[in-house]
């Protein structure tokens, strides 16, 4: 055997990501790179209308175009026109309209699928769309949520008789508890915040290849998806193809942010048509399609009221949401606001909480998970209203927070929303952040600029956030009526040569799992990181998994890796003890080597044990050959990362332009497996959270035309738009999982938005500004400032 590399402790090291070379150079199989002989390319004709009856649809013209093999409208597709599934019926009486892959007689949002063409090349398919004749008769559209729930509003689904999808209530202290708390209050602040609609905009657009010619008769689907496992179950259910004849592969995937956590119409169509025609079907969306037909995120109206005593003690919180579902329900559309429901009370102690949410249909693209999914919305509202309350009370906003947050010695702490936070240290993170930020100096400069009437005002924004992530204990999900569980799986195989295959059910699409998972397994097995290969994203090679979203992969999947690794070591110990002729208890295991206690000359490396397990010449009686183990872990609880984010903002009062001067965040995500990856996740999250505050917002006109349908109008910021972030951390390990980790995938996106807006409002407070709508683009800020100067609100 070759010389074995030595194991060096891997957890906690900022290793560069193993996967980056191939991802950055593009030397990998993105779904669109997959070329199969005989494939037909699908192009989709989409509704240009927000709401209309299809009065005529004739696809036959497309058949005359070169290379075209077939064309379908709903009529031609017949029974193959399956419906997009929703797996989270949040209430028993939820209104769940049918969502057929191809529209049946009526289109309900711009981008709704009307017809499709299959041709020999993608170009031929695109050309042939021009041969389809379709006539629409416009129906009144409803875009605005307040309008949608009014009597007499146009209906998105006329057969349902209402635009209301559901009403959900949570009153943990009982009906009337909030009112009672409010009655004792000296100060009550009430606001409506608009958490605008966002478009996830992953770098790689969606793409699907469905081939009936798998290696052994199965139907293989390559998809740019975050959720190959979930997708397989759902595709089996909706298309009727037997689950054990379906193989879903998520090759390297270029970002998702929730937008690829879905079972999309186009995926359903590709599978149904490949199955029917016996030929591979391929589809890759254009950026324009991505912007109108990949699900959107956020879009909630938040009426929030907070009650406190005059010395700043919080008494109660009431939140009434109206949440935009869009035109249809997709995988977990209705549940998104409920993921935020528990988090409005955030890190604060109070006596009563009252929550309600009305889900509403409008003639817009369906909404669903987008980085943070519900929690950015709740964090935004609570952190914004804390600043407004501080202003009302005449208190320094950080002092108000300190007065009300859970103290580090009070953990575990059960919040007014009913969650038990296992650990945290808000004091430590805040102290560190304030020192890095030079909080006091900035406050002094602010006073000066205010006094001199500087055209450029300085504002300081705070966000002391926490979030719940690591989805999720299966029973909790069941109690919330979500149909699946929240466990995760790992199999570890130590091969005869001492190399390791680690099979995970998580499905990375940019997160660096191959590196981080190797680090966990490396320390558990005592085998070098480079000797560990992580296998993921293919239901044939990693049959069990719940995939990647909601900052769950490490928090949940990490536990499965640890447990599977421990099982491998337990088995290896039995073999080593047998061969070293001692009892298993007499062995110590250190950096991959079993040694007999008291006689360290007698030793056996785990790699050697793996070979013994393979040859099986000399195993203990009754022990099965091979060195492998698997583990499926259902998490004990969610994890609750937290942090303090501080933003210093310069606002040009002449033009309304806001420029971030400095941004400091100190996040506590528990034990860090790979600090470099953590930093990357925080940076990306900050960029997206800041984007919501300053740049991004999907805008529809009253007919349902998406006005921000390209990157020229939908402003995704790039590096020069963002400051140089100062990131740091504190470490308060999670106590509900053995690795002590929490999630970090969404932290930056959740925490930063309110910090940025609070900073703008703080800068403009002397002019009478109390709120600034998002995105706080220059014209919006200028208008807000003008209105305030003229004595408006």
């Amino acid at each position: 055997m070759t010389e074995l590399a030595e194991h060096v402790a891997a957890i906690g090291r900022p290793l560069k990501r193993k996967e980056d070379a191939r991802l950055l150079t593009g030397k990998t199989q993105w779904t669109d790179n997959i070329q199969l002989a005989g494939a037909l390319h699908m192009a989709i004709l989409r509704s240009p209308m927000g709401h209309a009856k299809i009065t005529k649809l004739d696809v036959s013209g497309a058949l005359k175009y070169p290379g075209v093999e077939a064309a379908y409208g709903a009529a031609e597709l017949g029974d193959l026109n399956a419906s997009v599934p929703c797996v989270w019926p949040v209430t028993d009486d939820m209104v769940a309209p049918d969502f057929p892959a191809l529209a049946k007689g009526e289109v309900r949002h711009m981008g709704d699928c009307v017809a499709l063409v299959l041709a020999g090349t993608a170009a031929q398919a695109a050309d042939a769309l021009e041969g389809i004749v379709v006539e629409y008769s416009a129906l009144p559209a409803v875009i605005n949520m307040d309008d949608a729930i009014k009597e007499g509003s146009p209906l998105v689904h006329s057969d349902k008789g209402t635009n209301k999808c559901y009403t959900y209530k949570l009153q943990p202290q009982g009906d009337g508890a909030y009112e009672a708390a409010k009655a004792k209050a000296d100060v009550v602040v009430k606001r409506r915040f608009v958490n605008q609609r966002l478009i996830p905009s992953a770098m790689e657009p969606r793409a699907v290849v469905a081939s009936p010619m798998g290696t052994s008769g199965e139907l293989t689907i390559w998809s740019a998806t975050q959720v190959p496992h979930v997708l397989r179950v759902l595709l089996a259910l909706v298309t009727g193809v037997s689950e054990n004849k379906l193989r879903v592969v998520a090759p390297d995937v270029g970002g998702g942010f929730g937008g690829k956590l879905q079972c999309y119409r186009e995926e359903i169509l590709c599978v149904a048509l490949a199955n029917k025609l016996g030929r591979p079907i391929k589809w890759t969306e254009t950026r324009s399609e991505d912007m109108m037909a990949t699900h959107h995120g956020r879009d909630q109206l938040q009426d929030i009221e907070i009650a406190a005593t005059k010395d700043g003690k919080l008494l109660g919180l009431k939140v009434d949401l109206i949440a935009n579902m869009g035109a249809y329900l997709q995988i977990i559309t209705p549940g998104i606001p409920l993921l935020g429901m528990f988090m409005y009370p955030a890190i604060y102690k109070m006596d009563a909480y009252d929550f309600s949410c009305i889900g509403v249909f409008t003639n817009t693209t369906p909404t669903d998970a987008y980085r943070g999914a519900g929690r950015p919305e709740s964090t935004y509202a609570i952190e914004r209203i804390m600043d407004e309350l501080a202003n009302e009370l005449g208190m320094e906003p950080m002092e108000l927070r300190k007065k009300n947050w859970i103290k580090h010695e009070e953990f575990p702490y059960t919040t007014v929303a009913g969650l038990t936070y296992d650990s945290g240290n808000y004091e430590a993170a805040t102290d560190k952040a304030m020192a890095l930020f030079k909080y006091d100096e900035l406050r002094k400069e602010q006073v000066k600029r205010r006094a001199s009437g500087d055209k450029v005002q300085l504002g300081i924004g705070i966000s002391t956030f926490t979030e719940m992530c690591g989805l999720a204990p299966s029973r909790t999900l069941g109690a919330l009526k979500y149909v699946a569980g929240g466990w995760e799986h790992c199999t570890i195989r130590v091969l005869p040569t001492g190399k390791v295959e680690l099979v995970t059910g998580t499905s990375p699409h940019g997160q660096g799992h191959e590196t981080a998972w190797s680090q966990i397994a490396s320390d558990t097995l005592g085998i070098p990181v480079d000797d560990i290969e992580v296998i993921h994203g293919d239901t044939r090679t990693s049959p069990y998994g719940m995939d990647t979203y909601g900052s769950r992969s490490l928090a949940v999947g990490g536990q499965a890796i640890l447990r599977a690794g421990e099982k491998v070591v337990e088995k290896a110990r039995l073999i080593a003890a047998h061969q070293l002729e001692c009892s298993a208890n007499d062995l110590e295991f250190d950096h991959g080597v079993f040694r007999v206690k008291g006689d360290p000359s007698k030793e056996k490396a785990i790699q050697a044990v793996a070979f013994e397990a393979f040859s099986a010449h000399d195993l203990p009686d009754g022990l099965e050959p091979t060195l492998q183990a698997e583990s499926t872990v259902d998490p004990q609880d969610f994890s609750y990362p937290h942090g303090t984010h501080l933003c210093a903002m310069e606002v040009d009062t002449e033009t309304g332009k806001s420029t971030i001067r400095s941004y400091v965040c100190v996040d506590d995500i528990g034990i860090q497996i790979n600090p470099l990856i953590v930093e990357g996740q925080v940076h990306g999250g900050l960029a997206q959270g800041i984007a919501q505050a300053l740049y991004e917002g999907a805008v529809y006109d009253s007919d349902g035309q998406l006005l921000t349908a390209s990157f020229a109008d939908y402003l995704v910021p790039s590096a020069p738009d963002l400051p140089s972030f100062v990131t740091d951390h504190t470490v308060t390990p999670s106590t509900t999982n053995p690795l002590g980790t929490k999630g970090v995938g969404e932290a930056g996106a959740i925490a930063s938005t309110p910090a940025v807006i609070n900073a703008i409002v703080d800068a403009l407070r002397p002019y009478g500004v109390n709120d600034v709508p998002m995105p706080a683009l220059p014209m919006t800020v200028w208008r807000t400032l003008n209105a305030a100067r003229q004595g408006g609100k």
Binding site: A123, E654, L715, P720
Partner: protein, 285 residues
């Protein structure tokens, strides 16, 4: 999106290119850097039958110092222009404005001539050639002609370049002693198009502004000179408050549009603010 089918030719000379355009008929189109053309093709907003690629015609490349003026080949990329010593020394306004165009990838492909011939009201460079009184040379089947910048831009995406014509080069007179210039661009994101842009060239003598040339980007269908500000600035002391006062008429004669970035009222407000800033910067305030 995938463009409709088109033919593609890459002529070696201006004459060949003109012939190819003529042969291609109405549906033929010049392509240079493709940075504006390709999006139109991909969105199927344009479907030319022939694309005549002028990006590699030698005669249309290169930057020349003529003594009292500078001539820039229309096919010079933004990158070539902003890094040219000749341009940086003698037409600094153009170098500065070009550095604000889009991002490095686009600047490496997009061309000066393409940016002018495209006639995009939000493009930064039309205002620069207008402020500097440049002359543009156009070649067609009937020969060559010279067009003054003020006569070049006709309407939204419409210029003096006819269907079978090609913009060959741009000649910009040098500013003499005492001139300072500045391109002030107001955009919503760092790589974004101008909401309003102001190209200013100001001559200062004895602490006073003696002459000013100011052109505005994205304030009408074509770039416009802020002539009332130009006259108001004459004789004004070089001070921020005086310049601000003189800039109050910046929106006169403009036809501001309303879009997601700015409605008319805000855009007109920006014209005043950004003009004052551009002039102050050019005058060294």
């Amino acid at each position: 999106m995938i463009p409709s089918k088109f033919d593609y030719v890459r002529p070696k000379s201006v004459d060949e290119a003109v012939a190819a355009l003529k042969a291609g008929g109405e549906d033929s189109k010049v392509i240079a850097g493709g940075q504006s053309m390709l999006p139109l093709l991909r969105l199927r907003l344009a479907a030319p039958s022939v694309l005549v690629d002028c990006a590699r015609i030698d005669e249309m490349k290169g930057i020349k110092d003529n003594g009292d003026s500078v001539t820039i080949g229309a096919a010079s990329t933004h990158w070539d222009v902003m890094n040219s010593d000749i341009v940086k020394t003698h037409v600094k306004l153009l170098a500065d404005a070009t550095a604000t165009v889009a991002d490095p990838q686009i600047r490496h492909r997009g061309t000066f001539g393409g940016a002018l011939a495209h006639g995009d009201p939000a493009g930064d460079l039309p205002a620069v050639v207008l402020a500097l009184d440049a002359t543009l040379e156009i070649a067609g089947s009937k020969g060559r002609r010279q067009v003054a910048a003020k006569d070049f831009f006709l309407d939204y995406f419409t210029t003096a370049v006819g269907p079978d014509e090609i913009l060959v080069s741009i000649t910009i007179p040098k500013l003499g002693k005492g001139w300072g210039t500045c391109y002030e661009k107001f955009n919503r994101s760092a790589n974004g198009w101008a909401v309003v842009g102001v190209a200013a060239a100001v001559k200062v003598d004895g602490g006073k502004i003696t002459e000013a040339r100011i052109a505005l980007t994205n304030c009408a269908a074509i770039p416009v000179r802020a002539s009332s500000v130009e006259s108001a600035l004459k004789g004004v002391a070089v001070s921020a408050s005086e310049i601000e006062k003189a800039s109050q008429s910046a929106a006169d004669g403009t036809r501001a549009t309303s879009d997601l970035a700015a409605d008319k009222e805000y855009r007109e407000h920006l014209m005043r603010v950004i003009t004052a800033r551009a002039v102050s910067c050019a005058a060294g305030v």
